[in-house]
């Protein structure tokens, strides 16, 4: 099954539940009508929270940049001895 079909069937299921709720009037209609809006708002909040949280814990590695510089010096030294021309860049 294509992925879009999975997502569409999920949406259809949710709408079916919602229509069922509307028909059955277990909870007042005025509340049921607002449910899709709540859903969209909470999806948006979820997205924003995930991005914000991801930013907060964004892993960085400043040490790696220093280590890389050391590796580069080591490699250049090695190639100098072997006569490989890496300096003219």
């Amino acid at each position: 099954m294509k992925h879009i079909q999975k997502i569409v069937s999920l949406l259809v299921t949710i709408s079916a539940c919602w229509i069922g709720l509307l028909k059955a009037s277990i909870i007042p209609h005025s509340y049921t009508w607002l449910l899709p809006i709540y859903l969209i708002v909470s999806l948006g909040c979820y997205g924003l929270l995930m991005v914000g949280y991801g930013l907060m814990i964004f892993p960085t590695c400043p040490k790696e940049a220093e280590l890389l510089q050391k590796d580069i010096m080591e490699a250049k030294e090695f190639f100098k001895q072997r006569g490989v021309d890496v300096d003219s860049d």
């Binding site: 991005v51 991801g54 072997r82 890496v86």
Partner: protein, 246 residues
């Protein structure tokens, strides 16, 4: 005799490391040096696919062949810039290992992580091991807040819409079983880093066993990488394309 856990990694398999280059004269030399430094007891070959760099990348590769041997470093050049996807296909044709590693030539992928890719594959028998920047022990250096924000936004969007089962979709430091790469690459048509995302999403849909290892990503030291509005549009188009076709 007590076996050293670090050195008996991947002793039975051969690994082909495919590195596409365009004007990476200095970087390719540094990468080759670091690969040989970190993969001492492993049978491997490096396949450089150069797209006719005018800066003499191929001359340097020939000099490296003199140092390390022509059987360890293969130069498989193409006449001009022909795209990343076809560069891998081109390199793959000449690969003789059971496993293929693809990595960028700009030193943002450090060869010191190669042993952990190989070890992970040995331990789990995975079809694909992919490097991820977004977990503990992984990380990124050299990105400003805007770049981090776009990256996180793009990732959350892709995770929510595609459910890919891997944490880093656009990373391109990966180890593939050769037959698996052969199979997956044929069905991929995207360009740029959408191509990397398409590869991993299609592999995941084909139910290949995918494992992750943490890697760090130091944004290119020589030269600059950019992420503008057009890349974001391309990314969104890629997302929709993958949503509809996978």
């Amino acid at each position: 005799m007590v076996k050293n856990k670090g050195s008996d990694v991947g002793v039975h398999n051969k690994y082909s490391i495919i590195i596409p280059t365009y004007n990476e004269r200095l970087n390719i030399a540094l990468i080759v040096f670091l690969v040989f430094k970190h993969l001492r007891d492993v049978d491997f070959e490096i396949i450089v696919v150069d797209d006719g760099s005018p800066d003499g990348t191929q001359d340097i590769v020939k000099q490296l062949q003199n140092v390390y041997g022509e059987d360890r470093i293969l130069l498989r050049a193409r006449p001009r810039k022909l795209g990343l996807g076809t560069a891998y296909i081109h390199g793959l044709k000449h690969a003789s290992g059971e496993f293929v590693v693809i990595m960028d030539a700009d030193l943002s992928h450090h060869p010191k992580y190669l042993p952990s890719f190989i070890r992970k594959q040995n331990e789990t028998g995975a079809n694909i091991v992919t490097g991820t920047r977004y977990v503990k022990d992984g990380g990124v250096h050299g990105w400003n807040l805007m770049r981090k924000l776009t990256s996180r936004g793009a990732n959350v969007l892709a995770q929510t819409l595609l459910w890919p089962g891997v944490s880093d979709l656009t990373g391109s430091f990966r180890l593939y079983q050769k037959s698996v790469l052969d199979d997956v690459i044929k069905s991929c048509v995207s360009k740029g880093y959408v191509f990397q995302m398409e590869m991993i999403v299609r592999a995941s849909r084909k139910n290949y066993h995918i494992e992750e290892v943490p890697i760090t990503f130091v944004d290119r030291v020589f030269g600059s990488s950019k992420l503008g509005g057009s890349e974001i549009v391309e990314y969104l188009k890629g997302l929709v394309y993958l949503l509809l076709t996978t």
